[in-house]
């Protein structure tokens, strides 16, 4: 029988909680500092509004040459970057300027590039223009979706388990989102619609892990009503540890495939999922379950006493 994790592990996860919480808080604080340093999240056109144009050149070009072509046409304040692999000759041109005529903007860029590089020397592969109104709408929708997803999980876990479990589970989810956003900000990665989709998926996956452990805690509590909760939490986390790691591992396998082969458009999504999945496993083991234990210390459950 092949085992990554020996079946008789006896890690004392509960005792690591303080360290884990401090570690996470430090990371989140660094993330917050990074967000302040970058003057907010690096919002893509979906949320900030503005225009994005993806170009593919026939021959090799460079960011500098494109910039000088645009500057000749008096188009400034553009963010130009190479997109995808080095030899694909693809570039993204972005502007976050709100309030300009977005349609005219893409026309101006095209005519500027055509006059320098020539007709047919490049292909416009993608244009996205988002007005400030839509950007605001999408931002609001994204925040609402995340918040409601949390609330719905809180209610579901509260009903299926106990409220204290639900709070622990949701704290873990909030943790996952905060950590992921922190890492994205540290790397100054763009925040797009796909990022939010990834965050919501992370929430779904992470609570999944958490519930498996909660389920085991509940089962072990039934078997051993008088047992020490701390021990039971530890045993439960250990018992499910191999499953937690295995499932995350298979998700990692496919994420690696997506990161390496899925192309640049999907890269941000896959990367966000990647970070979130790590945060999810970590929080499931070190945050959610120990939190149930901590709650027990300060608010002992009457149900268990009476049994």
């Amino acid at each position: 029988m092949l085992e990554f994790i020996r079946s008789d592990t006896k890690f004392d996860f509960a005792s690591k909680m303080k360290m884990a919480v401090i570690g996470s808080l430090v990371l989140i604080l660094i993330g917050a500092a990074s967000i302040i340093y970058h003057r907010g999240l690096n919002l893509g056109v979906d949320f900030a509004g503005g225009a994005l144009i993806q170009l593919k050149f026939q021959k090799e070009s460079s960011v500098d040459r494109i910039r000088s072509a645009l500057e000749d046409a008096k188009i400034e304040n553009c963010f130009i970057q190479q997109f995808g692999s080095r030899d694909s000759n693809e570039y993204l041109i972005r502007t976050a300027e709100a309030g300009i005529d977005l349609k005219e903007f893409s026309d101006r860029i095209e005519s500027a590039l055509t006059s320098i590089f020539g007709q047919g020397s490049y292909e416009v592969r993608r244009i996205e223009t988002v007005g400030p109104k839509i950007g605001k709408d999408l931002t609001q929708k994204a925040i609402m979706a995340l918040a409601f997803a949390w609330i719905a999980m809180l209610v579901y876990v509260g009903v299926r388990f106990e409220f204290r479990y639900a709070v622990g589970g949701i704290l873990a989810l909030v943790h996952d989102v905060l950590v992921t956003v922190s890492v994205l900000s540290l790397l100054n990665m763009e925040f797009t619609l796909n990022t939010v989709a990834a965050l919501l998926t992370i929430i779904g996956f992470s609570i999944n892990d958490t519930i498996v452990i909660f389920d085991r805690i509940r089962e072990n509590l039934r078997k051993n009503v008088k047992g020490d909760l701390r021990q039971i939490v530890n045993v439960s986390v250990n018992q499910t540890l191999s499953r937690t790691i295995l499932t995350s591992f298979t998700v990692f396998l496919v994420l690696v495939a997506l990161l390496a082969l899925g192309g640049p458009v999907i890269f941000d999504f896959a990367f966000t999922m990647f970070v979130g999945t790590i945060a999810g496993v970590y929080s499931t083991v070190f945050i959610a379950s120990p939190f149930v234990l901590a709650m027990e210390r300060y608010f002992p459950s009457r149900g268990r006493r009476n049994k």
Binding site: M1, K103, R125, A197, N208, T250, V251, I266
Partner: protein, 533 residues
């Protein structure tokens, strides 16, 4: 127990066959004829990000629509008052959507109120005061009617845009109102997005106005526009350079005729220069008006104004009856064709503004499909191999379940005609990663039971039973997240939520139900002594 297994196998087979049945038309695009009729036409739809195309969100300026409705009311009111011989002065639209008028005497007020009640149920008196012996009345639209008018403007815009797109020739466009004043437009496979946008987005308000040749144009350009006149730009394009040069016209403000009275518009090529022009024909009312206007103004210049820009201002040489006219200018063939389309489809009731535009070229879409498929296959293979290495024969069972899961997922997407997007492909890959979770839970549990010294049969039994509730609980919470994703998302993200949801439901079935059949078969019928797990 054998009976039971047979029944369950039958169910599983039927479900999988149904999945295959729906999937085949999507995977094999060109079925030979006799087979073709056996299958449904339903297919997995490709999102705009995969097949290329344009996504637009437009905002209808419903305030402007209200203003022009009130303008119309004001003009009609003038005529109604004249018809009833009520003395009045200065009927005009003021402050956006109000109408103000002065009645000569207080006696006229009751007469006026009667007309208002009988003929203008949408209007009501906002306020009235006596100014210099005359009664000044301010009218407004009734509050509950305002929403209806705005709604009507939105619906009319949707209808007009749909007409234009249909004539432009786009397969399976989607044009739907969204919220109070927005229109969502999806145009798959559009080759020339710029042209499509200008076709959809222009108001196409065609007006005929007389040129003011008595007052000085130069003075007007300097800012001294005479009362009752407007200054309009001309669309003069230099033939050689293609540059638009600025030219101005001084027009009488009064609109003599609009494009509303058009019956037909068509592109024609002029005999002399081979240039395209648009030939228009008025309906009977329009023809009558045009006849009258031309006969009254022989020798003057009549400007043809489209969306505030003067296209041409020919001299009326003689009275024109019959209702035929031409719009000439310097058009390219495409421009002339588009102009004919918008004139036929009619003007938008109000200007529209682009709030959001996303265009994906077909080559990028194909790239995304290719890369997505490769990533899915490689990701799938990695998981398959890992499962066999880790769980041996049981891993093979899990892989069978996983494979069926993929067939069910894609089959269900075809059956629902769900849209596959790029994030949706990522959703499929993730489903592969997640779907094994149910099997991992069951296998780990079974291993635990085996360690306790139970027989393979009892271990399988316990493994499946104990893991089931966990699987159910954990998948349900992921479903909740997917639900909010669906609510939140537009286009691509929605496609992701769809694949995630279907994948989760399918994985519950394959991992719990189907793999159990295989295990039971070996445990009960073959009575295996050792479990390869």
């Amino acid at each position: 127990m054998f009976q039971d297994i047979r029944l369950r196998t039958l169910i599983a087979l039927l479900v999988c066959l149904a999945g295959l049945y729906f999937l085949i038309p999507s995977v094999v695009p060109n079925l030979p004829d006799p087979l073709k009729n056996l299958f449904m036409k339903r297919k997995i739809q490709l999102g705009l990000d995969l097949q290329g195309g344009m996504h637009l969100i437009m905002e209808v300026d419903t305030q402007k629509a209200m203003e022009s409705t009130m303008e119309r009311f004001a003009n009609n009111l003038k005529e109604s008052l004249m018809a009833r011989k009520i003395k009045f002065r200065n009927v005009e639209r003021t402050g956006g959507t109000l109408i103000s008028l002065d009645l000569a005497t207080t006696e006229a007020r009751s007469e006026f109120e009667k007309i208002l009640m009988d003929q203008y149920p949408d209007l009501e008196v906002k306020s009235s005061e006596i100014v210099e012996g005359r009664e000044r009345v301010i009218l407004q639209a009734k509050e509950k009617r305002v929403a209806d008018m705005k709604r009507a403007a939105l619906e009319q815009s949707v209808e007009t845009i749909r007409n234009r797109v249909d004539q432009f020739g786009v397969t399976e466009p989607e044009i739907v109102p969204q919220g109070d004043d927005r229109i969502l437009i999806q145009l798959p496979g559009v080759k020339d997005p710029k042209r499509a946008v200008s076709l959809i987005g222009r108001t196409a308000l065609l007006e005929f106005k007389l040129l003011d040749e008595e007052n000085s144009l130069d003075q007007a350009i300097k800012g001294n526009v005479p009362p009752g006149d407007i200054l309009a730009r001309g669309a003069r394009v230099d033939q050689r350079t293609g540059q638009r040069s600025e030219s101005y016209y001084l027009l009488k403000e009064k609109t003599l005729l609009t494009g509303q009275n058009l019956e037909y518009a068509q592109v024609k090529i002029s005999d002399r220069f081979g240039e395209p022009y648009v030939s228009i024909k008025f309906d009977s009312q329009g023809a009558k008006d045009f006849d009258r206007i031309t006969s009254e103004n022989v020798g003057k210049r009549l400007a043809i104004v489209l969306d505030g820009i003067v296209h041409s201002a020919p001299v009326i040489k003689e009275r024109i009856s019959g209702g035929d006219a031409q719009i000439t200018g310097t058009f390219t063939p495409d421009e002339a064709r588009d102009l004919a389309i918008v004139l036929r489809a009619g003007a938008l009731p109000a200007p529209v503004k682009i709030l959001e535009q996303r265009t994906v070229g077909p080559s990028l879409g194909q790239d995304s499909i290719d890369k997505g498929i490769i990533a899915t296959i490689i990701g799938g293979i990695l998981v398959f191999v890992f499962m066999v290495i880790y769980y041996k024969l049981s891993g093979v069972v899990a892989n069978i379940a996983l494979f069926l899961n993929l067939i069910l997922l894609l089959g269900a997407m075809a059956a629902f005609e769900a849209t596959l997007t790029l994030p949706g492909i990522a959703g499929i890959v993730l489903t592969i990663g997640m779907a094994v979770d149910a099997n991992v839970l069951i296998f780990e549990r079974t291993r635990e039971e085996l360690r306790l010294g139970k027989s393979p049969r009892a271990s399988i039994e316990a493994g499946f039973t104990k893991a089931f509730l966990t699987i159910f609980d954990s998948n349900l919470t992921t479903l909740i997240a997917a639900l909010f994703l669906f609510q939140f998302g537009s286009g691509p993200v929605k496609g992701f939520a769809v694949t995630l949801t279907i994948g989760l439901v399918a994985s519950m079935f394959t991992a719990v139900f189907v793999s159990r059949i295989i295990f039971d078969y070996f445990a009960w019928n073959r009575k295996i002594q050792k479990l390869s797990i």
